[in-house]
């Protein structure tokens, strides 16, 4: 992974010292709250429902075991003993005291971490495929480019006061696990006919109160032009993006209101002016950064592990876990493993300090000390020898982290909702817990197959409900929590926004409604091979809507 050089260390430490001074000035009264608020937000500090919240950046979701141990220390020393992994591959601490925040940031700097640009109207943490560098369907590891974008965008003077926040995602694989079509800018790596690496560029995607699938600006952008073209997009957005209405300030609205082709022409015109300037990426610089993401030295192993095969035959629980949580790897005899943070009845994305330390130990023992945080709010070990899977599973069982549900109905994406968030209208976590309890049986989950349930506690859609196969949106109906259900959303290559399935349900009715949707799917699927989204593409909304409507009438 990327290792800080002297400049990086100095840069982050200077930022900590600056924030320490700002906090001291706030506490002494030199700064008012109005003056201090933008400064704390630039350092990832929010004031939420119960307390301050600190959002720490995990660049492109890549984390070392050493860094995870430090997060555990921070959780225990300054918070309530746990952290929450987010849908943008970051971690949030829900209870830090303002007076402690400079010390927390100083501890983070010790392990090359910070909270810069995790809030505010700037370019946020660049997210990436959580199987980057490991996936067999990958053209190349996208993280060097994510790192280049991170360095370019960090405290970029021209883009520190954008009309609104700006989110970039990148994938190097043919399967989109980074939801690139639902970001302000999404890059998909590809090769041209000459075999050169470049990117398809989408812009104007997003969720929230106005969801849009991203528009393809470029079918192929040469590698060398990554920064020049991104700068051109940002310049056009910075110039024309609305600043009069925060709900219409994202680039997706600009594309929608002004016209996609018009904005594309503006971007190309801007790019033509700057394409041959200092932003042109030299091959040597790309190679220098890419070298830091070199994979570990894999052993030459057979494709199939006899140890794994024997263990699967012997232990049904291990077999289920491998089927759900173990993904193929580009190196023979290796796998990528998802550690689910969605135990039955648990809080999706939460990990206690003890769990973080157990994960760090297991990563050192079985995964080269290398981890990822997925936007699905799980932990990933990207490189695990298949022969090691039984031992890893045993360790995960001991740590309570062996839930076999990756990609299944109980692996919900869930925002913090009204339990924590100052913006939410309804709770999300108890809905996720009720669904996970209803569908707890692992055999039944496996029978149902892949099914994304995504839950948001308000229209801002941090829980990605617009792109859930089953999306659940919490709203306020006359002072009571109420949940609208949408169906058929897809965050992947076949990007699609979900359809409204009817008026909605009271909280205690939601698990039953999900049950009806699942039962309808099971009754109409042609075989186990036809996933929920495949079946939905074939039959559409009607049978699901009808089944839910009869339930609403009966209620």
């Amino acid at each position: 992974m990327y290792v800080y050089d002297d400049f990086d260390h100095q840069f982050v430490r200077a930022r900590v010292a600056q924030f320490r001074d700002q906090v001291a000035r706030r506490l002494s009264g030199e700064l008012t709250e109005e003056e201090f608020r933008p400064l704390r937000l630039q350092n990832g500090v929010y004031l939420q429902l119960h307390s301050y919240m600190l959002r720490v950046a995990i660049p492109y979701g890549t984390l070392s075991s050493r860094q995870l141990r430090k997060l555990a220390v921070i959780a225990r020393k300054y918070d309530k003993g746990y952290g929450h992994f987010t849908t943008r591959q970051n971690i949030q601490f829900n209870w830090p005291a303002l007076k402690d925040l400079p010390d927390i940031l100083e501890e983070l700097a010790e392990v090359e971490m910070h909270a810069i640009q995790t809030s505010g109207n700037c370019i946020r943490n660049v997210t990436a495929d959580h199987f980057a560098g490991a996936a067999p369907d990958e053209i190349a590891d996208p993280r060097p480019y994510a790192e280049i974008l991170r360095q370019w965008s960090s405290l970029h003077p021209e883009f520190s006061h954008l009309p609104r926040k700006f989110k970039i995602a990148i994938t190097g694989a043919t399967t989109d696990r980074a939801a690139v079509r639902f970001h302000d800018v999404g890059f998909t790596m590809k090769k041209n006919d000459a075999g050169e690496i470049g990117f398809a560029v989408h812009a104007g995607g997003g969720l929230g109160r106005s969801p849009f699938v991203g528009f393809e600006l470029r079918d192929f952008l040469p590698e060398a032009d990554l920064l020049g073209y991104t700068e051109a997009i940002l310049r056009v957005y910075n110039l024309y993006g609305r600043r009069d209405n925060k709900y219409k300030a994202r680039i997706k609205i600009l594309l929608h209101e002004v016209g996609r082709e018009t904005i594309r022409d503006e971007v190309e015109a801007e790019f033509a002016q700057i394409r041959d300037t200092a932003l042109k990426l030299p091959k040597a610089d790309v190679a220098r950064i890419a070298a830091q993401f070199a994979p570990p030295a894999f052993e030459a192993l057979p494709e199939v592990s006899a140890i794994e095969t024997a263990a699967r035959a012997k232990d049904p629980a291990f077999d289920r876990w491998v089927a759900a949580n173990v993904a193929p790897h580009k190196a023979a005899g290796y796998a990528s493993v998802t550690l689910s943070l969605k135990p039955v009845g648990g809080v999706p994305g939460d990990a206690t300090a003890d769990e973080m330390e157990a994960i760090a130990d297991l990563a050192d023992a079985h995964a080269f000390g290398s981890l990822r945080i997925s936007h699905r709010q799980n932990v990933v070990f990207p490189h695990v020898k298949r022969d090691d899977l039984p031992a890893l599973f045993e360790g995960l069982v001991a740590a309570g982290l062996a839930t076999a549900n990756a990609g299944l109905v109980t692996d919900t994406i869930t925002c913090p909702g009204l339990d924590f968030c100052a913006l939410a209208n309804a709770r999300s976590i108890p809905i996720a817990q009720a669904i996970s309890q209803r569908f707890a049986d692992p055999v039944r989950q496996a029978e149902i197959g892949p099914l994304d349930v995504k839950i948001s506690g308000c229209i801002n859609a941090c829980g990605h409900h617009h792109v859930g196969a089953i999306g659940i949106l919490g709203v306020d109906r006359k002072g009571r929590e109420f949940y609208q259900i949408t169906l058929g959303g897809d965050a992947g290559v076949d990007a699609r926004l979900s359809d409204s399935a009817g008026p909605g349900f009271w909280p205690d009715e939601v698990p039953g409604a999900v049950e009806i949707i699942v039962a309808t799917y099971l009754a109409l699927r042609t075989s186990r091979a036809e996933t929920f989204l495949d079946a939905y593409a074939r039959v559409g909304l009607a049978p699901f809507k009808a089944a839910l409507a009869s339930e609403e009438k009966a209620a």
Binding site: R26, L27, G29, E33, L47, L49, H50, S51, Y52, K80, G81, Y82, N94, W95, P96, A97, L98, K99, G345, G346, V347, D350, T352, L418, D419, F420, A424, A426, R427, I429, P430, Q433, G479, R480, E481
Partner: protein, 99 residues
């Protein structure tokens, strides 16, 4: 009926204004106010913002529920009682017991 609440500046914790104008963590100790008294309490709270005790004060409607006073809105109920679910609810309950 209303109470006045805020977050404490130094640590962000939820606090309530009591009858003596102090900021306390116990909702039960909050002063219950009519509209005129709530307006006066908010003005006083504004002065406490200026002297850096609290941030973002506001008034909350409260009602009688099962013979006890409680916030009317779900958001404010959660703000009083803490997160309702999972490890956090357990941690919060443990802290409440220890307090």
């Amino acid at each position: 009926m209303q109470i006045v609440t805020a977050n404490r500046l130094i640590d962000g914790r939820v606090v309530f204004r009591d009858a003596d104008g102090r900021w306390v963590e116990s909702f039960a100790a909050a002063a219950v106010l009519d509209a005129a008294a709530a307006t006066a309490a908010l003005e006083a709270a504004g002065r406490d913002v200026a002297v850096r005790l609290i941030v973002e004060p506001y008034a909350v409607d409260v009602i009688s529920e099962d013979g006890r006073l409680a916030p009317k809105a779900m958001r404010e109920k959660i703000r009083v009682s803490g997160p309702t679910s999972g490890s956090e609810a357990a941690a919060h309950a443990a802290l409440s017991r220890a307090a």
